[in-house]
């Protein structure tokens, strides 16, 4: 049982199991909490149009709000898109999804994916440093924020190292890369990475709540 076998075999198996249990536990445990009924007279019959609209349009803010956060928006989307392009469209990642989901999709040339990965890594590191220095972020950051960003950066670093074939021999590089992905899967349900799932209901709620009072949010 080499490190790579362990990483590809039992470690991946248990990481995915704990990941799945954790996600459903936290999602169902949150969604089923007591929800207050609102008897007041709504200005809009159903919350659906406003809620659905907010899920998308909350990313596009009116100029008077946007001009203060252009930096956060640009860097945020830059590294998110770079990260997902790397994860979803690298040639060697597709078989992983194919084995998990049963279907695959076309991939992008390595050159493009590597640029996306490098940009994403650079921005993530810069944002981590900013989190330590910015007056607001210093005040509101918890250990979860730091763990989550490190756990997100590690697969990117080990992935780039494995691709560039520097550092350890290939199996160890690949094993470390897979283990870092498993660390991400294990931490996922317990930290703020859950916003991958929680963002959409939350945006729906703000859209519906403000829409109920006749305001586009």
């Amino acid at each position: 049982m080499t490190l790579l076998d362990f990483a590809r075999g039992p470690a991946m198996q248990w990481a995915l199991i704990i990941f799945t249990i954790g996600i459903f536990w936290r999602l169902v445990g949150t969604v089923l909490l007591y929800r207050r009924r609102d008897f007041s007279q709504p200005r809009r019959k159903s919350g659906l149009p406003d809620g659905a609209r907010a899920i998308v349009m909350r990313s596009v803010l009116p100029p008077e709000l946007e001009h203060n956060i252009v930096f956060q928006h640009v860097t945020g989307y830059l590294w998110h898109i770079g990260y997902f392009v790397t994860v979803l469209f690298l040639g060697t990642h597709i078989p992983f999804f194919k084995s998990l989901l049963g279907f695959g999709w076309p991939h992008l040339p390595n050159a493009i994916v590597m640029i996306a990965a490098a940009v994403s890594l650079a921005v993530l590191v810069m944002l981590l440093v900013r989190r330590m220095l910015h007056p607001v972020l210093q005040k509101i950051s918890t250990s979860d924020d730091y763990i989550s960003v490190i756990v997100t950066i590690l697969p990117l670093i080990t992935g780039l190292i494995s691709y560039a074939n520097i550092g350890f021999i290939k199996e160890t590089n690949l094993a470390l890369h897979i283990l870092s992905v498993e660390l991400l899967l294990l931490w996922f349900p317990f930290g703020k990475l859950m916003h991958l799932f929680m963002t959409f209901p939350s945006r729906y709620q703000v859209g519906a709540a403000f829409g109920r009072r006749g305001v586009k949010a």
Binding site: R58, Q72, V136, M198, P201, Q205, F210, G214, A217
Partner: protein, 444 residues
């Protein structure tokens, strides 16, 4: 304008001593903490849970908050106001609470005490941060839950505590009871106005506030004049004329519900089909959106703000206004609880349009409007004076950018904050009440 300032001066002096009448502390520390936790547990719900679960601490909410923008201090970041509530949620209600309890420290009374500055002095619950949060978190309602926790732990700023105690025990605000109302009504009647007070039944039950009865009597007079002009069946009820709700401002659920129930019962008693809320922001938020929930079922009558009502009457053609009566260039300040949190955006503008006023909007107006800095009871907290003034500077800049000579608004708190803010900053733009403008320009 000067006569108003004089009366306002008297009122300010009254507020300055309000704190002295704050209730003494009763519960022991442990009881107060337990009650705070109970308030948190009762106040939180599934929607707030999802919000608390998906905050990624990106700090963007601070970029929308006038208190942070004007002071640039990290501690005024909106999400920071919810830190204790978030930890409580993860320890007590969240799905992984048994796990989080191992790694998240409990909340303490001392910490809640420190948070008074964040959830009262530096937060008007204006919900501008709710408009920017990339995760769609509604921070303002949760600040309300924080306030209910601090209120349960007797940690309310003295002025708000005193106001709440008075309203809870005597049912009056700033010492203005039925007698003071009658006195003002008599003065209006001497000016030739027909004031329906305590009619047995009426289609419309008009509400007023202590501020209107004592300070902005022309606003009350304006409402009366317009109502008579429209020939609607209305009345004021001395048993429940007070729209202000100190319980909502301080977070004291019990006081809040008592004041609201009093208005609902009175409306049912006189068979009103509509309740009209005077120029008061938080009263609209309370009665329009919370009263039915306190009542426990949909209300049998409609709840409308005066600006909303007049807008509708105008659009229905029943209200006729003299246009081009006002020459000044004007900008409109949307009271947060009317506009962003109430949805009353178009009616006031329709009225201003009918008055032939040249309206130039501020950069942030309507749903993204900057708060005047005095709402949510912050106007009464003297500890928040510096913060209010710094926040007001943003509003002044926004108004100056439009080049308007006057600001029209439709909320007593905003109006008072504008007047005192202008005095402190020696700022010459005047502030007008929408209702008074309409009343002065009714077509005969």
């Amino acid at each position: 304008m000067s006569e108003q300032a004089a009366v306002l001066g008297k009122f300010e002096e009254y507020i300055a001593h309000l704190g002295e009448r704050a209730p003494a502390q009763q519960g022991s520390d442990d009881e107060r903490l337990a009650r705070a936790k109970q308030a948190f547990r009762a106040g939180l719900d599934g929607a707030m849970a999802i919000d608390l679960e998906c905050c990624i601490h990106c700090g963007m909410c601070a970029e929308a908050c006038h208190f942070y923008e004007s002071t640039q201090q990290g501690k005024y970041a909106p999400i920071h106001k919810l830190a204790p509530l978030r930890r409580f949620y993860h320890r007590e209600l969240g799905p992984l609470r048994w796990l989080f309890r191992l790694f998240t420290r409990d909340i303490s009374l001392k910490e809640l005490g420190e948070w008074q500055e964040f959830v009262y002095n530096s937060c008007t619950m204006c919900a501008r941060c709710d408009m920017i949060c990339p995760m769609g978190i509604q921070i303002s309602p949760m600040v309300g839950v924080m306030r209910s926790g601090l209120a349960a732990a007797e940690l309310v700023p003295r002025a708000l505590a005193a106001g709440t105690l008075e309203q809870k025990q005597q049912g009056t605000v700033f010492g203005t009871g039925a007698a003071e109302l009658v006195k003002t009504v008599d003065t209006l009647r001497q000016q030739g106005l027909v004031v329906n007070l305590d009619k047995d039944t009426a289609d419309i039950m008009l509400l007023s506030t202590a501020m209107d009865v004592n300070v902005y009597t022309r606003s009350l007079a304006g409402m009366v004049k317009i109502m008579n002009g429209l020939g609607v069946d209305w009345t004021l009820r001395s048993a429940a004329f007070e729209a202000t709700n100190f319980g909502m401002l301080s977070g004291d659920r019990e006081a809040e519900e008592a004041a609201t129930r009093r208005i609902i019962d009175e409306a049912l008693a006189c068979g009103a089909k509509t309740i009209i809320i005077p120029e008061c922001g938080h009263a609209y938020a309370e009665l329009r959106w919370e009263a039915a929930n306190i009542h426990g079922q949909p209300l049998p009558f409609e709840v409308v703000a005066i600006s909303e009502f007049l807008g509708r009457e105008l659009q229905a053609g029943r209200l006729k206004l003299k246009s081009s009566a006002i020459k000044q260039r004007v900008t409109y300040h949307d009271p947060c609880k009317m506009g962003r949190l109430g949805g009353v955006l178009d009616e006031p503008r329709a009225l201003l349009d009918a008055l032939g006023v040249e309206l130039t909007e501020m950069e942030s107006h309507g749903a993204t409007n900057y708060c005047c800095g005095g709402g949510g009871g912050v106007m009464l907290i003297e500890g928040a004076a510096m913060l209010r003034q710094r926040a007001f500077e943003i509003k002044m800049r926004q108004v100056d950018d439009t080049g308007a000579d006057a600001v029209v608004t439709t909320c007593d708190s905003c109006r008072t904050t504008f007047i005192t803010g202008a005095q402190n900053a020696n700022w010459h733009t005047s502030v007008e009440s929408l209702v008074e403008l309409v009343a002065e320009n009714l077509e005969d």
